[in-house]
């Protein structure tokens, strides 16, 4: 088998990491935007009630 280069599994090496990276980044952005919005709006409402 000299000279034969094993090709990596495309799904495991490239496709799944690309999807994990993108979906993970997208979810992180959504959660960060949602949590920061809820916190800021709760603070503003609390201050208005005071």
């Amino acid at each position: 088998m000299d000279g034969v280069v094993a090709r990596p599994d495309l799904w495991a090496a490239f496709i799944i990491p690309a999807y994990v990276l993108t979906i993970g980044g997208l979810l992180a952005l959504l959660v960060w935007a949602f949590v920061s919005m809820r916190r800021a709006e709760a603070r503003a409402d609390e201050l208005r009630r005071k």
Partner: protein
């Protein structure tokens, strides 16, 4: 446009629009990625690795499209001093930067099986990297000007100067010999160079990502407007007790 420049009116619309846009984005994204991963056929040349296109292309579109939005908002802030324009620009920048970074990383994962390398100093890849640096420069300058209580004019000017990079990104594959393929979809061409079975999930995920980007921007704008109300009220309370 000025009718919606009123933050109170904008918030009224944004509170209704945010969940609708977010749910629409999630639904379209899940459908697009599901079809792209499991139902669409592999490409006749690239094989299975073409599936990376369904996350890479929407990220690239939003990285560049987001920058155009940032530049329009910055120009509006500089010229008309629109009260929501600076808020919109500041909301777009981190999302645009994140999508540009995702585009570069997913592109790199596509490049290895397609070209045999994760990175090459090709015109398209380099101009996208410059776009990421422009976003980071805007974020840093805007944060530093904000800390000093400025109007973030320097950051807005940087955003406008950086627009020159957008046509460079778009036409880089035509102006230079690049490893990156040319555009497969065109609004001016009657037919697309991409097979309908591959185009359908791509369009679904582009639409889904765009709605999710809009939801992120709306949520960031609502957070910043609430923070502005907190700051203004705290200042008034401090003055009343002084």
């Amino acid at each position: 446009m000025h009718r919606y420049a009123n933050p109170a009116r904008f918030l009224k619309i944004a509170r209704i629009a945010t969940p609708i846009v977010a749910l629409l984005g999630l639904g379209l994204t899940i459908a697009g990625l599901w079809i792209g991963l499991f139902a669409s056929p592999p490409d006749y040349q690239q094989g299975e690795s073409v599936r990376i296109m369904y996350v890479h292309v929407p990220a690239a579109w939003l990285g560049a499209g987001g920058y155009l939005g940032l530049a329009i908002a910055s120009a509006t802030a500089l010229i008309w001093r629109h009260p929501l324009a600076t808020v919109a620009a500041r909301a777009i920048a981190p999302a645009g930067a994140a999508f540009t970074a995702i585009c570069l990383m997913s592109g790199s994962l596509w490049g290895k099986p397609t070209w045999g390398t994760y990175w090459v100093w090709d015109a398209r890849l380099t101009s996208m990297l410059v776009l990421l640096f422009l976003y980071l420069g805007y974020l840093a300058l805007s944060a530093s000007e904000g800390e000093r209580g400025g109007e973030r004019r320097g950051a807005s000017i940087l955003a406008l100067v950086g627009v020159i990079n957008l046509p460079i990104i778009k036409y880089s594959v035509e102006w230079w010999n690049t490893l990156h393929q040319g555009s497969s979809i065109s609004v001016t061409r009657a037919s697309s160079a991409i097979a309908p079975e591959l185009l359908q999930p791509l369009l679904l995920s582009v639409a889904g990502f765009t709605f999710l980007f809009a939801a992120i921007v709306l949520m960031r704008m609502r957070a910043m407007l609430a923070q502005q109300r907190v700051d203004a009220r705290s200042r008034r309370m401090a003055e009343a007790f002084a």
